[in-house]
């Protein structure tokens, strides 16, 4: 006897939501993979400095599609869960493989969305390092998704080929299938409208659910990663500050803040694009990184490592030759016409086009030519 009487448990709805989830998870996977490659580049990968806002778009998409996937996934799980009680549960080896693959598919999907949302809120109630755990979970989940597509592609094609009028009858007093799909689409739209403003300026006033709102914070933009007491103390004793340019150079440089201010200054409007999904365009002023490298007697097509004076997970970042040669890659001393606030990296921070926010190292102490 069938225990699941709602007509919303429909193959057609499952197929439509499955396709939407397949698209959103694929976007999340590709953009997430790209973000990981940019932050920890292997030898064969070079991320360009242009277009300036490309990372802003890819990471904004990553977070936005992740948010939009939440109602999609919950709806898909509710529609399909009667299949978990199918009896007999296994009808052969291939069916066993299909059923086992549901564990990483459902577990991985929930894991990715749940940990992703908590990461945006900087809440880590687990022991693993979020980017690494999230990254490898994505491979497992995308693999399970491919298995699921292989199992369901024919069924979905058949379901989508049926007449819509035959499959829209509601339970008495209940939602039609079209109404259910509309509710899910509405939930996705609402979540997107109330979060996308963190990176898409026209929607900024609607960003009620965005954890970070551009325009809010010291000097008019959010702070991610605050200075330690030691960093604040060093920033207050600015006469003791020295920036060192060393490594594969003819002359090692040691420059005070005054020395840096006396060098040729460059200004550029660049977005700061956080891995958490928010971004904001600001006007930066400082010394071109390539100028410092040339001053130290190294070729301008070098790659360099920029190091913060504050130890931490993101205290070092790489600048590849394409980024170093870009005229807008600089060690910024000012933002929007003011010296940097200590929360934003005073006295000196790295900023460059098309770079993830976490790689725009704050409180820079050393530039090492590789």
């Amino acid at each position: 006897m069938d225990a699941f009487t709602s007509t919303l448990h429909s193959q057609r709805l499952a197929a439509l939501l499955g396709i939407a989830l397949g698209v959103s998870f694929s976007i999340c996977f590709v953009t997430g993979l790209l973000s990981d490659l940019i932050q920890a580049p292997p030898a064969w990968f070079t991320w360009p400095a242009r277009p300036v806002g490309l990372y802003r778009v890819t990471q904004g998409l990553h977070v936005a599609t992740g948010f939009a996937s939440i109602p999609l996934l919950l709806a898909k799980l509710w529609i399909a869960y009667p299949r978990l009680w199918a009896w007999p549960p296994i009808a052969g080896l291939l069916h066993l493989v299909e059923r086992i693959s549901l564990v990483p598919l459902v577990g991985g999907s929930l894991f990715l969305l749940f940990t992703g949302v908590l990461n945006i809120g900087f809440w880590y109630p687990w022991n693993f390092f979020f980017p690494t755990g999230h990254y490898w979970a994505a491979w497992i989940t995308i693999g399970a998704l491919i298995v699921h597509i292989g199992a369901k592609a024919s069924i979905a094609r058949n379901a989508l080929g049926r007449s819509r009028s035959l499959t829209n009858a509601p339970m008495p007093g209940g939602l039609t299938r079209r109404g259910f799909l509309g509710a899910v689409t509405g939930a996705m739209g609402l979540i997107t409208l109330t979060t996308a403003g963190q990176t898409f300026p026209p929607l900024r006033r609607l960003a009620f659910l965005a954890p970070y709102v551009p325009g809010v914070g010291p000097q008019g933009f959010p702070v991610v990663g605050t200075p330690s007491a030691e960093t604040v103390e060093l920033a207050e004793r600015i006469s003791a500050y020295r920036l060192t340019v060393s490594g594969a150079v003819a002359n090692t440089l040691e420059l005070s803040l005054e020395d840096l201010q006396a060098l040729a200054q460059h200004e550029a409007e660049l977005p700061i694009s956080c891995v958490n999904g928010w971004s904001q365009t600001l006007r930066w002023k400082g010394v071109r990184l390539s100028d410092l490298v040339v001053m130290a007697g190294a070729p301008p097509d070098s790659s360099v490592t920029v190091q913060s004076l504050q130890p931490g997970t993101y205290d070092v970042s790489l600048v590849n030759p394409l980024q170093l040669q870009d005229p807008d890659t600089m060690l910024a001393l000012e933002v929007n016409g003011e010296p940097l606030h200590v929360d934003h990296g005073f006295p000196v921070r790295l900023i460059g086009p098309n770079r993830p926010g976490v790689t725009n190292t704050k409180w820079v102490q050393r530039v090492s030519v590789d």
Binding site: R83, L94, W126, F129, W136, G143, V147, I149, G150
Partner: protein, 74 residues
């Protein structure tokens, strides 16, 4: 639940579009499924391999508990 639905209402008869708990015989296109299953399990194995070789960062036992349901004590 028997033939009567919620609140004593009689549900509509099952149609061919319904996703029920009735038995099925597994993947409809066995050839396609076999190919996709191999690709999918290779990717899943790569993910598990990555978790294990990066155990210092991933803490696999904690990761697994969260993967399977989540527990603050993990």
């Amino acid at each position: 639940m028997g033939a009567e639905g919620v609140g004593g209402l009689t549900p509509l008869p099952l149609d061919e579009d319904r996703l029920s708990n009735a038995a099925d015989r597994g993947p409809a296109n066995r050839r396609l499924f076999s190919i996709m299953a191999v690709i999918g399990w290779v990717l899943m194995s790569y993910g598990v391999y990555g978790l294990i070789i990066n155990a210092a960062q991933t803490h696999p036992s904690s990761w697994l508990v969260w993967f399977l349901g989540g527990d603050r004590r993990a």
